[in-house]
Symmetry: C2
Subunit: 93 residues, 2 copies
């Protein structure tokens, strides 16, 4: 993604930010506890597998930090935007 | 954990290494694919929740990187060893 198309795609997302040193987006979500955090991860995992597009993510107790980038394309693609949008929907924007 | 007790505990574990800049242990496990990797994470999550002791972990596709440390105790404790041992059991040593 580049130019206007990229800008429009990013503008349509929830609370994601662009990663400084690589062409990727990241979002950190805080839940109530580990059960809620892993529950969210399980829901995202099923969606990601269905999309055949997987996140890089880290979990520490109630915190889930998700980074999306298309490794095979070397940067942000519409597949990342689609997964980000699905995640936004799960967490309510 | 310190001294002999720590050394003995670490010697009893599978393929874990001590993290350089903090009192923690880490292990990276490679699975066949994302389904296998997240399946392992789900099994670990249930055990961790039962133990009330949670990992810091990162997943990228088929790779799961797990770090264990007891935040409240400021370092490695018997609870980390217990969780590490349970994870070793799941992955066969």
């Amino acid at each position: 993604l580049a130019g206007d198309e990229r800008a429009r795609a990013l503008a349509g997302l929830g609370d994601w930010s662009v990663v400084d040193d690589r062409d990727a987006i990241t979002r950190t979500i805080k839940l109530a506890d580990f059960v809620e955090a892993f529950g969210l991860m399980a829901r995202i995992a099923l969606i990601a597998e269905k999309m055949d597009h997987h996140p890089e993510w880290t979990n520490v107790y109630n915190r889930v930090e998700i980074t999306l980038s298309s490794h095979d394309a070397g940067g942000l693609t519409t597949r990342d935007i689609a997964l980000a949008t699905a995640i936004d929907r799960l967490v309510g924007g």
